[in-house]
């Protein structure tokens, strides 16, 4: 390997990458977009949910409760004249959640001394929108629990709350977020850690998929092959600069996740960026293999898109691998992304060290060596 030749190749790749506005846009916007989409919009708050309210009690306590519900941006509140009207509105889809405060609410509150029955209100959801309902339930639940003590000394035991089923909420404090695409019922940090796996797998292969095939079509790849540049130099000439760009992307995502989503890695950020950078190389090598084995750019992109389907379905990014049938679990564990996402979550959520993630790291290491070796063979191949 000749360093000057390698530097020549690396420099050209950097020039090409940064002079293409589309590539630069993708490299910056996709990581941020995915992070916000998966981490923010899908994983957490449901905002401006239409909530219908029937206040049958018309007491100071019930008005206070209504005001608390309205104070949170989560709900847009509409008043309804009867509980039947609430039912109709739910049926027609005008509202997503209905809250019925019964006529005896105030009495109940007053009577809710230790040993007495707690005050009751009714919360209605559209069962067809189970996930949405889950979210709304969690919110109404937590809100009501938070406001219960404020209703005076009447509701001291928030655990036996005003809301049916609220026992699940626990503590009456904090938000139990249920993401639409997050059946693991885990929150933003879980999604953020997984999003790294998704972005680094998908975007790297997508960016590299066209790189060699385009050079082939332009004739520059053939030209490279008749220069003294070796196949390992050509390969590294692609891997190193793009690896650096994606390492920057990882850092960018860590910062955005921290500043915007308030999710910082629990474990070592350095370890995380290091493992991520290595994973990027694996993924880039895979993209280069797609590219070098394709006759057209379209074919290479199709391969990338096909590859991204198991990436989303099997990697554990959205659906927990442990819930899959055994055979599918085997398949899932063949994907490097599955192991990277496991590591990513281990560092991000549980601050685990190298020891516990050794099997996954080992798998990634072997994959990386194998894929980079194979990519070199493919680049070198003479028809």
């Amino acid at each position: 390997m000749n360093r000057r030749r390698l530097w020549t190749l690396v420099r050209r790749e950097i020039q090409a990458t940064f002079r293409d506005p589309f590539t630069v846009t993708i490299l910056v916007s996709v990581p941020i977009g995915a992070l916000l989409l998966f981490g923010f919009i899908l994983a957490t708050d449901v905002k401006h949910l239409a909530l219908g309210l029937y206040d049958g009690s018309r007491s100071a306590a019930s008005r206070r409760l209504a005001a608390d519900l309205a104070a949170n941006k989560t709900f847009d509140i509409t008043a309804y004249p009867s509980s039947d009207a609430i039912g109709d509105a739910l049926g027609s889809g005008a509202i997503s959640v209905g809250v019925v405060i019964p006529a005896d609410f105030d009495d109940d509150t007053r009577r809710s001394r230790p040993g007495a029955e707690p005050p009751r209100i009714q919360v209605l959801y559209d069962g067809g929108e189970a996930a949405l309902a889950g979210n709304a339930e969690a919110f109404v639940n937590s809100l009501l629990q938070a406001s219960a003590p404020a209703l005076g000394d009447q509701a001291r035991d928030p655990r036996r709350s005003v809301v049916p089923g609220a026992e699940r909420g626990g503590g009456g404090i904090g938000v139990v977020a249920r993401a639409v695409f997050n059946p693991g019922l885990e929150g933003t940090p879980f999604m953020v850690a997984g999003t790294f796996g998704f972005v680094l797998s998908f975007l790297t292969t997508l960016i590299t998929a066209v790189s060699i095939v385009n050079e082939k079509l332009a004739g520059t790849f053939e030209q490279l092959q008749v220069t003294p540049a070796t196949s390992i130099e050509i390969l590294l000439g692609k891997l190193l600069p793009l690896g650096a760009v994606f390492a920057f992307d990882v850092a960018l995502m860590v910062v955005i996740a921290g500043l915007v989503l308030r999710v910082w890695p629990e474990g070592s950020a350095l370890l995380f960026v290091g493992v991520s950078a290595y994973y990027v190389l694996i993924s880039l090598a895979l993209g280069l293999i797609f590219s070098a084995t394709s006759a057209t750019a379209a074919e290479a992109v199709q391969k990338t898109v096909l590859f991204s389907i198991p990436l989303v379905q099997l990697s554990g990014f959205l659906f927990p691998v442990r819930n899959m049938p055994t055979v599918v679990q085997w398949l899932a564990n063949l994907l490097p992304a599955t192991h990277y996402i496991k590591i990513s979550r281990a560092i991000y959520l549980r601050a685990e060290g190298l020891g516990s993630m050794m099997p996954d790291l080992l798998f990634l290491f072997v994959c990386g060596v194998g894929l980079i070796y194979y990519a070199r063979r493919v680049i070198e191949a003479r028809a």
């Binding site: 090409a16 030209q223 008749v226 003479r382 028809a383």
Partner: protein, 316 residues
């Protein structure tokens, strides 16, 4: 050194059932311009790509500049320059940046590169385009730039695959001037083209048809074998005619008389005959001499026809 710089024997390339190149024997002399002609899809590019080690032959041997290209394709890379059908400049990079990139791969940097590039830039008329991005260059300029890039490292052997495709007549002529200059400087040029008339710029012509060589000779020899030869018309007055005839006395075949003067048909133009013609022109200042050479296109039409009559595969 008199050993041929390229020697290929029994060179064959099959893609599945299709035989793209069929048992080709090639021999290219050092310092010559070797034209490799043929229609589109006749196997020209496949052959050139095997010669430079981009493609592994199904059978046969190749030796380029003393290197067994099939076994050691990388060994020959410092000696050869290659310009493919698509001139391989990187889009988005200026001409200058492309030059620096390829020079860097050949280990050419600093002052050495400056000197080499300055010389090439002058000779190839590229000075005005240095800062332009490669995609903005016109076809003719791009072609010259491609050649400049391919010759940066002073290769002993240049492989040019259809270098003049898509280039206008003026730029094609300019391009061939440069190629001839390279050859005069001792560089061997192996060039494919489907412009048959370009064979005249070359020292040797190999004509490939459906993977097989059907002609392999200097252009003059092909002309004499596959055409009615040169036609020389001499317009001359009755008074001057005897003087001209005297000069051309002994020429074979003998000149015919025409309404305006004389006509000679010759399979080849020998220097000796041209000398006589020059003398005759001096002695008969009123004479107007026109030499018509058979078009290469016609020559190849005849080559093809003669092959078709023997080839069981039938006419192309």
């Amino acid at each position: 050194m008199n050993t041929p710089i390229i020697q290929a024997h029994g060179l064959t390339k099959r893609f599945g059932d299709f035989t793209a190149v069929d048992a080709l024997d090639l021999s290219v002399e050092r310092g010559s311009i070797f034209a490799f002609l043929g229609a589109n899809g006749s196997g020209k590019s496949t052959t050139i790509r095997m010669l430079i080690g981009l493609l592994r032959p199904t059978a046969g041997t190749i030796e380029v500049d003393g290197v067994d290209v099939i076994r050691r394709p990388r060994r020959v890379r410092d000696h050869i320059g290659y310009m493919g059908q698509k001139v391989s400049l990187y889009q988005g990079l200026s001409l200058r940046e492309n030059v620096e990139f390829y020079a860097g791969l050949y280990g050419l940097t600093g002052e050495e590169l400056e000197r080499r590039w300055t010389a090439l830039r002058e000779r190839f008329d590229l000075g005005a385009f240095e800062k332009e991005r490669s995609e903005d260059l016109s076809a003719g300029v791009r072609q010259r730039a491609g050649l400049a890039v391919a010759t940066l490292h002073r290769p002993r052997l240049l492989f040019l695959d259809e270098p003049t495709a898509g280039v206008d007549v003026h730029n094609r002529a300019r391009f061939w001037e440069i190629i001839q200059e390279e050859a005069e400087a001792g560089v061997t040029v192996f060039v494919t083209t489907h412009f048959l008339e370009e064979a005249d710029y070359c020292d040797w012509v190999s004509f490939i048809d459906r993977g097989r060589l059907i002609a392999n000779a200097p252009p003059e020899e092909l002309r004499s074998r596959f055409s009615q030869g040169y036609r020389i018309d001499i317009d001359v007055t009755a008074e001057e005619r005897p003087r001209v005839l005297q000069r051309l006395d002994g020429a074979i075949p003998a000149p015919e008389l025409t309404a305006t003067g004389l006509r000679v048909r010759l399979p080849k133009l020998e220097p000796e005959f041209l000398g006589r013609l020059e003398q005759a022109a001096k002695e008969a200042p009123g004479a107007r001499i026109a030499i018509e050479q058979p078009a290469m296109t016609d020559v190849f039409r005849r080559v093809l026809a003669s092959v078709a009559s023997q080839d069981p595969r039938g006419a192309p």
